[in-house]
Structures are given as structure tokens and as C-alpha cells.
Amino acid sequence: MNQPVAITGLGCLCGAGMNLAECMESMFRGVRKPRPPFRFSTDHPVSYPVLELRDEFKLPLDDQEKVYARTSQLALAAALEALADAGWDEASLRGKKVGVCIGTTVGCALNCDDFYRAYKEGDDPEMDVIERFLRSNPASVIARQLKLDGPNQTVVNACSSGTDAIGLGASWIHSGACDIVIAGGADELSRVTYAGFSSLMITDTEPCKPFDVNRKGLNLGEGAGIMVLESDAIRGDRKAWGFVRGYGSACDAYHLTAPRPDGAGLKQAMGEAFAAAGLTPEQIAFVNAHGTGTPDNDKVESGVLAEMLPGVPFLSTKGYTGHTLGAAGGIEAVFTVESLRRGKLPANIGYADADPEIKGTPVTENTEIDGEYALSESLAFGGNNAVLILGKGDD
């Protein structure tokens, strides 16, 4: 069994809100605003709704758009919110072993299609977009901006990256490799992923409907969710919002894009997380599910939940945030900790009609919860499954 790792700061921005408080407030009001993408256009005959950030955000940087790619801007914004929440600034972090572990997908891909189009057409495109890419590794950006001297790791496990990053970051605290770890996920919405997910035919033309019988697919989103993890020695008697209790991961080794129908990898990841936490399924108050709204994911995932955590309330928050890919695990872990702290869950928006193939019903209205522990899970391309067990913080 692992020692709990304290979570002292939370930060989040996404289509649901520009900071964690706004996100929680809009979710409890049951508001979501998917709409056609407005930061880019395509000639695709069908328009798929997405959840982009509602507002601009300003970082303490000159010319932030030119300096860093959007994913790294999002990561930095959420990291600064989380650090402020934990009471840290650049000066107070100096001399401490501070690691950064961030999950992403788009943030590390050379998806510069304007540059590439010019190259293809025989022009000599300027290198500024490549230079920006080379500056924009999300974990490195946070470390550089805060002048940190610890290990950095950008996790690219597709859609489970954020969950994995928090689990791996917690293990750096366990081992003593770090005093503090800034961990989570970040991803921007891009024309490339929009085209990619459309081509896989798993995007819905309407607002997504996780676990509903009429679900047709996901809505893409963007954002970042980041938490500050601390060793007990560094935290002292400062308050923790929550604890990382256990982490587990496993690979389906089954298919590049489809989840394994029997959910064996997800079950194995859950088993590892429970063993690490020293907890049992009966102690779990709720599950923040991956719940993308694709036919396959929701079927496999709900099957595993019914088997492993029968009767435990579950929800997907992707109706509010969209699927934020590498950020999803970070955002959802942050929501999970905050929901435990508030003792209240938002409704699984988009669910109306039961699917006979899905056992159990997600939380359909804002629900009071009374429990110490919750589970947040992600399933990914390539068959990755990652599970975090999170605990309630100090009262």
C-alpha cells in the first residue's frame, strides 16, 4: 500500500469555465455550450460541435501566442492557478525539488498544417511556427517559466495521458525524487484532431450523450487540469484539498483504436489502483468515468463499472468539457477532488434514455455525496487504461 500524496492546489480551464470555480458553477447549473469551431475552419461538409474556451486568457508573458503553442499556454494557465491555490510562487519554489509531469497529445505533435501546405506548394515557409513548437513542450514550459530544477516529463499516452501524469507524478513524491510535483494534462483543440476524429466517425453532430442509448460519438474540447502534489515534509500543517491514494494502469494489447470488449485492461488497472490505495470498491463514493459518448467506449466502460463497482454512482463530465484528449484525465481528476471536497456531484449532462446494453444509470441530477474516496479513469488509443483513486482532503 502507498502513502497518500497530498494535493494542495487545483487549477482548471476548459469549455466549462475559465477557472475551477467557474467550471464547477456552470456544471452545477447544468450549462454547456458546444458550438461549431471558431478558431479554425475546414471544408468538411458536416460541422461537429466542440467545446472551445469561452474567453481569451492572459498569461504573464509578452506576446504569449508567439512564444508558446496554445497547449502550453493552457498548461501554464492551469499550473499558475494551481500553484496560487497552493500558496506557491516562483520565489518560494526556488531551491526545492519540483518536478513537472504533464499529459498531452496535440501539444507534442508537429501539426503545423499551414506551414506544411506552404512547404508542399514549393514555398519556403518561415520557421517561426517550428521554433515555437520546439519551445513548447508542455512540461518544459512550466519548468522554464518557473525556473524549476527537477525532472520534467511530458506523457503522450493519448487520451489517458493526464491520468497517467498524475499517477506518475505521485510516485516521484513517494520515491523522494521530488518535494513537489506539478501534474496534470493539457490539450488545445486543433483542426488536425478535428479532422482525425471526424475520419474515425466517432464525433457526434449534436451535443454528446454519454451512456445514452442514442449516443453517436464525442465532442472535442480543449483545456488543462493541473494539481500540485506535495510530500508531507514540505506540506507541514498546510491544508490538503485531497489526496492521491492509488494509481494503476494497464494496456489492452488488443487494437490501435478500439477498446478491448471484455475490458480486461481497465479491470487490471483498477485492481492495481485499489491495491496501491489499500482500499476496496465498497469504499468508493463515485466514479468520474471516461464516458466519451462513443458507442464502444461507453459500452465497454459501463460493463466494467457494473462488474467491478456495482451500484457505485458514476458520471461523465465530458458533456460540459468535451473530450479534451490528453487534458481529460487532468481536468477530471481535478473535478473529482473538488466534488469530494464539496460533497456534491453535477449531473451527467446529455443522458436521457437508457441503453439496454448499458448496465446502470449515470448520475442524472446534481447529487449530494458523502464519502471519502472516488475514482477517475481514462481509456485511450493504443489500449491504455489508467485509473486514479482520490481521497477527500482535510476538513
Binding site: 466517425m201 483504436t257 478500439a258
Partner: protein, 84 residues
């Protein structure tokens, strides 16, 4: 070229089925599972193949599933859409 022959050829080329020849693909042979052995990722790639080479759009998998059963069903779908 007849639609079926062209289908077999682009199938082999675009899905990299180097281990089969057009003659070895039966018109009624199931494309997925036990037949030709294609999977869900091939299914969505086939949608692109049909769009690219025949100019015929498959809107979603509700429409795609019955069409993507075999060379015969796919050829019939393409013919119907091209004439319609």
C-alpha cells in the same frame, strides 16, 4: 473498369493487403472478421477509399454497415449512389 474490379484493386492498395490478389477476393466474401479479416479501423478507412476513388459519401456507420459487408454490397451501394 467494372466497379467490383476497381474496388478490389483499391482495397488491396489502400489497405496494404499485400498478401492477397484481386482474384482471391470473392464477391460475396465477408470483408470483416473471418472473411478478408478487416477490422473497425479498416471500416472507416474504407469510407475514405470510397469517397476518394468513387466520389461517393458514406455519411455514418448506420449507412456504412450494410454497405460494407462484401464487394457485392459495396458495389451495389456505389452504383445506387452514383446513379441517384
Amino acid at each position: 473498369m467494372e466497379i467490383k474490379e476497381k474496388l478490389k484493386q483499391v482495397l488491396i492498395e489502400d489497405l496494404n493487403l499485400e498478401d492477397v490478389t484481386p482474384d482471391e477476393i470473392g464477391n460475396d466474401e465477408p470483408l470483416f472478421g473471418e472473411g478478408l479479416g478487416l477490422d473497425s479501423l479498416d471500416a472507416v478507412e474504407l469510407v475514405v477509399v470510397v469517397q476518394k476513388h468513387f466520389g461517393v459519401e458514406i455519411k455514418d456507420m448506420d449507412e456504412g454497415r450494410p454497405a460494407l459487408q462484401s464487394i457485392n454490397t459495396l458495389a451495389a451501394f456505389i452504383e445506387e449512389k452514383s446513379n441517384g
